[in-house]
């Protein structure tokens, strides 16, 4: 009942390799089928995200033989040279594999520390594999544990609490001033990739009114259309800045496009309603002195990067709390795993003892012809009772005492000792 994990992630493999080893749902299903039909794994789950591709499994054979086979399979399945792939792959067994998955679900192993998406991706991967009947009791238990770890880390620590990108940090700051942005309006200056990212995040936050302004009218119109906003003509600041609460600028321009004098005039016309300015341009699009205007809150790229850095440090300080939760759940899983293995071992041992008892009595009683049938039955019953007593009490203890199960770390050794040559399956 070993667990094996073979995979690669953003730390071990460059993007070109990650792209080639990623799985679509269809590929994940096919890989799981092939791994089982080839006898490499009995239970399989493929976890594939932008930053990682991992195969979790329960091999039928001794654990140290399964990882190289899985590496070769991945190389063959994705038609990637084995030498190229093997330098990027990592493999873990049992406790290390369990801990790795729990760290992934908690967001500790993510590219952006504490990111929330990974938990959903783990959930989806598990749901898909479960529906395909690729998982069994071990992987079911393992992934249910991982989902629980993810939820607890999210609710009991601050690991995912603060924004980690400049765009999301900026919008979070805007929420410190206005609250939820659902009833607010925003103006985005520029129609490049950064503007698109911000527009998308504004839409995710349910912004009520969205306007896009760009020197190139076509690009502004296209972006506005894509996200259900309106396009406003470039440069008419007095009208364009009259209503929005949030203004985001990401324009390629050598000089600031929004000057303090423009903003002072606009603020007067707005009745000094608070205005949040997020300047993502390099060089800056908003004159630095704008932040001195009453009720104007202006943040540039450096300000937001500093906040992101503060947030990163705050998230890192939460790792020990998350690790404690992971430790607890690794312990729980290993205890469950040991109990299942031990219960199987005890059942096999009882079967073997019953067999030995029958052979032993048949052999010895053959030479005791003076015993009556009643005496023979009585003797058989006594020996049976004695053996049952010797086995039942430890079996009951194993079922009831988690601490005892934890102490017995190597069931294989017990099997080798008491059931040599026995096939555990």
């Amino acid at each position: 009942m070993e667990i094996v994990l073979v995979g690669l992630n953003h730390r071990t493999a460059p993007l070109e390799v990650r792209e080639r080893v990623s799985f679509t749902n269809e590929q994940a299903r096919r890989a799981a089928d092939e791994l089982r039909s080839r006898g490499l794994l009995e239970e399989t789950l493929v976890l594939s995200t932008c930053n990682r591709s991992e195969v979790y499994g329960v091999p039928p054979e001794a654990m140290h033989e399964s990882a190289p086979g899985l590496s070769s399979f991945l190389s063959e399945f994705h038609s990637v040279q084995h030498d190229l792939l093997s330098v990027s792959l990592y493999h873990h067994y049992d406790q290390q594999a369990v801990r790795h998955l729990f760290r992934v679900a908690a967001g500790i192993d993510a590219m952006v520390l504490g990111e929330a998406e990974i938990l959903g991706q783990v959930r989806d991967a598990y749901k898909f594999a479960h529906e395909q009947r690729a998982t069994g009791p071990v992987l079911n238990r393992l992934f249910q544990g991982a989902l629980e770890v993810g939820k607890r880390v999210r609710s009991e620590t601050e690991l995912g609490a603060r924004p980690m990108s400049v765009a999301s940090a900026g919008l979070k700051l805007a929420e410190r001033i206005f609250g939820k942005l659902k009833e607010r309006s925003a103006l985005v200056l520029g129609a490049g990739a950064m503007s698109e990212l911000v527009v998308s995040q504004l839409r995710d936050r349910g912004i009520a009114h969205l306007a896009v302004m760009n020197r190139s009218v076509e690009r502004a119109a296209a972006l506005a259309k894509e996200f259900g906003g309106t396009m406003v003509p470039w440069g008419n600041w007095d009208d364009a800045l009259l209503t929005p609460d949030v203004v985001v600028t990401s324009v390629a321009a050598e000089d600031p496009v929004l000057l303090r004098s423009d903003l002072e005039r606009v603020m007067s016309a707005r009745g000094n309603r608070a205005l949040f300015l997020m300047d993502l341009g390099v060089p800056r699009n908003i004159e630095a002195a704008a932040s001195e205007i009453y009720n104007v809150y202006a943040y540039n790229l450096d300000d937001l990067s500093d906040i992101v850095q503060q947030n990163r440090s705050a998230r890192e300080s939460e790792i020990p709390k998350a690790e404690l939760i992971i430790d607890e759940h690794v312990g729980k899983f290993l205890s469950w795993q040991a109990s299942v293995e031990l219960i199987g071992f005890v059942a096999a041992l009882r079967q073997r003892v019953q067999q030995e008892r029958s052979d032993f009595l048949r052999e010895r009683l053959a030479s005791m012809r003076h015993l009556s049938d009643e005496d023979r039955d009585h003797l058989e019953s006594m020996v049976g009772d004695l053996l049952e007593k010797l086995l039942i009490e430890p079996a009951q203890q194993l079922r009831g005492e988690r601490e005892l199960r934890r102490k017995i770390q190597n069931v294989e050794a017990l099997r080798d000792l008491f059931l040599p040559g026995d096939d555990k399956s």
């Binding site: 601050e158 700051l173 929420e175 410190r176 007067s268 009745g271 309603r273 608070a274 009720n295």
Partner: protein, 270 residues
Amino acid sequence: MNHAYLILTVLAYSFSLAMYLGFLNTGKNLTGRAATLFLGLGIVAHYFALLERSRGLHTVPYHDLYGSLSLFGWLLALTYLVLELIHQQRSVGPFVLSIVLTVFLASHLAPPDRLSPTPAHGPVFALHVTLSILAYAAFALSFVLSLIYLGEERLLRNRQMGNVVWRLPPLDLLERMSRSSVLIGLFAIAVGTALGFIWVDRLHGQFWYYDPKYVITLLVLLLYAVYFIVARTAAWRGARASKFCVFNFVIVILSFTVVNLYFSQSHRYF
């Protein structure tokens, strides 16, 4: 006097304060709900503590400085709870509960009153005092909200984004909560003052005679009315309105302390 209610009140408010602080630090909703629950328990226990005292002394619970402070604390807690439930915002809790608990404890340390009490009786008088103290409680709440606004605004401008800043209420909400609180205070002080004049008229046959308390109360009413009107105007909205609100509460404190203790003949404790 039944000390059980006093102990229960102190315990409930203390637990509530601890939970509010925990909520501000961790952001856990469960901790926040527990804080609200303990605040509710504290308010109930505090009510019975006031009731017991009134029954024991055969008079109103604001007969002396103890009663007056204690009633102020109770109404502050109650007003805050109402605002918290309306706005679904718990981050202000630690600041308000600190004041509630301090006021409640201070009310027990207040020296006994050796002066003859005001001939306090009748529903008009009772309403006059209760509404006046409710107004002070509401103004105290708006003062706390304004201070938080000014502190948070400064942190945002200085880019000092610690843990707490992310959990404090948005500036816009603080402004709205402060105005709601002032509105409650304005209504209470307007009706309470009018009832005061009616009661004095019944007692002395004339509704007005010179008492510095009258002057300062009318000044407070005027200042808060002006605040309420100008807080959303172009010139005042934002930090200026909050500073104005803080200034107004300084006048309230003067009214509640210096004027009551040293100048007023008939308003020693409310």
